[in-house]
């Protein structure tokens, strides 16, 4: 077990390190002159030289990389060129909204997917199963930004039940929650489509096993069998997909925040791209990639906690 954990932790750290090299290389080395990217083609040589000096771009690449990584480990992600403040401060300011959206989105995703997947498995081959699978197939094909627009059209433009976008701040919790309803639903409807399919097939696999037949023969209620016996034994593939969906959730929040004009990290990323603020873009891309890598690492650990057989096999 400890060998398995040590290997996974080493792999996690190595992957993060490699990701940081890729992000730094793409943002600093490949494009040529970052000062030119930031200031644009019409900038003067003097202005570019001054910016290069200010951002420390004259130093050798390896030194700049080490300074960036060292700073990031201390929580110093550099100074935003366009906002004129520390990037870590910008991130801290916008993080609560993005995290709230991600948590509410993931919670609703899992709830919807488990209910739909288990219901489809219980009604296997019947109309309910087909309807849920049709919804799932459509959900996979629908782009999250289009679904968001349709939800806005219906619930904000036509019915006027919810705001079409924007965020009023946390001082008014009710208004804040109302502003997050449509983004959360849009995120969850798309994400739950994949998870519902996986839940259904994982549940169907378990339902063929002898102990389920025994539970049925013993007279347990179908709901009890599903939630207490089938679901716990079907969790490994479900947790795998939940982990993989973190990548989708990360990109989903980036898109959703831009559709609904929510001032979170995704919106900050696009503002920074528009302002050619490479320092902020670099920090945000690294942060989003680190979230994905961490989620994958946690899924690996979760396998072992969920399924003791894997623990025995890997230890």
């Amino acid at each position: 077990m400890s060998y398995f954990l040590a290997r996974r932790i080493a792999g996690f750290v190595l992957t993060l390190w490699a990701v940081s090299i890729v992000v730094f290389a793409v943002m600093n080395v490949l494009p040529g002159d970052p000062a030119l990217t930031i200031l644009g083609l019409d900038s003067t040589d003097e202005a570019r030289a001054a910016l290069r000096e200010r951002l420390g771009l004259d130093a050798p690449v390896v030194q700049r990389y080490l300074a960036w990584v060292g700073g990031a480990l201390r929580g110093d992600l550099g100074q935003s060129y366009s906002f004129g403040v520390a990037v870590s401060g910008l991130i801290a300011e916008r993080l609560p909204l993005t995290v709230s959206l991600a948590i509410s989105g993931m919670t609703l995703t899992v709830c919807l997917a488990l209910v739909m997947g288990l219901t489809a498995a219980a009604r296997h081959g019947r109309a309910g199963d087909w309807a849920i699978m049709l919804f799932s197939q459509l959900g996979i094909a629908v782009p999250v930004f289009w679904l968001s627009m349709l939800l806005v059209l219906l619930f904000a433009v036509k019915l006027r039940w919810l705001p079409p976008g924007g965020f009023p701040g946390w001082s008014d919790p009710v208004a804040a929650a109302r502003a997050l309803v449509l983004p959360t639903v849009a995120l969850a409807l798309v994400q739950s489509a994949v998870l519902a399919r996986v839940t259904r097939s994982a549940a169907l696999e378990v339902m063929r096993l002898d102990f389920v037949r025994t539970a049925r023969a013993s007279g347990f209620a179908p709901g009890h069998i599903m939630w207490r016996h089938v679901l716990p034994n079907a969790l490994v593939p479900i947790v795998t997909i939940v982990g993989l969906q973190f990548a989708g959730l990360v990109t989903g929040t980036i898109v959703i925040e831009n559709v609904f004009y929510l001032p979170g990290l995704g919106r900050l990323l696009f503002q920074s791209i528009a302002n050619r603020d490479l320092v902020t873009v670099q920090a945000l891309v690294m942060l989003f990639a680190a979230i994905v890598v961490t989620a994958n690492f946690l899924v690996d650990i979760a396998y072992v906690l969920i399924d003791p057989r894997l623990r025995a096999g890997r230890a």
Partner: protein, 275 residues
């Protein structure tokens, strides 16, 4: 053979055929020039002259949707083609050589999975500027690890077959065995994966163009049409419907086709299908 499988593939193939036909036709004919502005006819309702109406600049919607289909398919074909070629070659190399070469290729593939396609494309667009070429490069790059993994897994199985041992004993080189025996026998999973990746490529292109990082005006794109429609949602909500339906049609088509082909190519799945 039960009824579900052909339905999967038939519906998928039909949807893909419709989109492909529109894309190919747009190369030689559209009802109007897709960027042709006719302000006097702006927001025209559907009619014989404009089957789906016009947008805020009087541009014909059908023409724009057809041209955007061409762009979308073009991006998907080139990006998935590049990713598939490089990824398959790396997967074949990993399976053929084994050892540290295989380990290196697989660890690099793991690194690729740390970047969701959209995030990687956003990073490239931020560094190099937004364009459809960046979208192609990003999607191609993200596809490489996926195809490398699929190919390596399939190729490793073929390398254990007796006819491969025989070929090796007959003196065939590793390259010749990979080309003549391994590649033809792993074509099925690679084609299935390519079909699925087509759907992903269409979604990513649309998302990036919607966000302003893909197709730039006047290049037609379903995603960019939706971005323009969003600002006119109160005035002309119908403009937000058609491009979205086109994306869903294309993605659903390739998704169903890929699922169906995977079912056919994997007998274990065929056995599991409900009677």
């Amino acid at each position: 053979m039960n009824a579900r499988l052909p339905v999967n593939i038939l519906i998928g193939a039909a949807l893909v055929a419709v989109v492909m036909f529109a894309a190919l036709l747009s190369a030689i004919w559209t009802p109007y020039p897709y960027a042709g502005i006719d302000v006097a006819n702006k927001f025209a309702a559907p009619s014989g002259a404009h089957w789906l109406g016009t947008d805020q600049l009087g541009r014909d919607l059908v023409s724009q949707l057809m041209a955007a289909a061409g762009n979308s398919m073009g991006v998907a074909v080139v990006a998935v083609g590049i990713g598939c070629s490089i990824g398959t070659a790396l997967g074949l190399l990993a399976a053929a050589k084994g050892g540290w070469i295989e380990e290196l290729i697989m660890r690099l593939s793991d690194l690729g999975f740390a970047f969701p396609a959209l995030l990687f494309a956003i990073m490239l667009a931020a560094a190099f500027g937004p364009s459809l070429s960046m979208v192609v490069i990003a999607i191609a790059f993200i596809n490489i690890p996926t195809f490398a993994r699929v190919t390596r897994a399939a190729a490793n199985q073929i390398w254990r077959r007796e006819y491969v041992f025989a070929a090796r004993a007959a003196g065939m080189s590793t390259f010749a065995i990979s080309r003549d025996h391994i590649l033809p026998n792993i074509a099925a999973p690679v084609i299935v994966q390519a079909t699925i990746e087509f759907a992903v490529a269409i979604l990513v292109e649309a998302a990036l163009s919607y966000l302003g990082l893909g197709a730039q005006p006047p290049e037609p794109s379903w995603g960019r049409m939706l971005a323009e429609a969003q600002t006119l949602m109160y005035l002309a909500p119908q403009l937000a419907v058609w491009p979205g339906l086109c994306i869903v049609t294309a993605v659903l088509g390739f998704g169903l086709l890929g699922d169906g082909l995977r079912d056919i190519s994997d007998p274990r799945l065929a056995r599991r299908r409900p009677a």
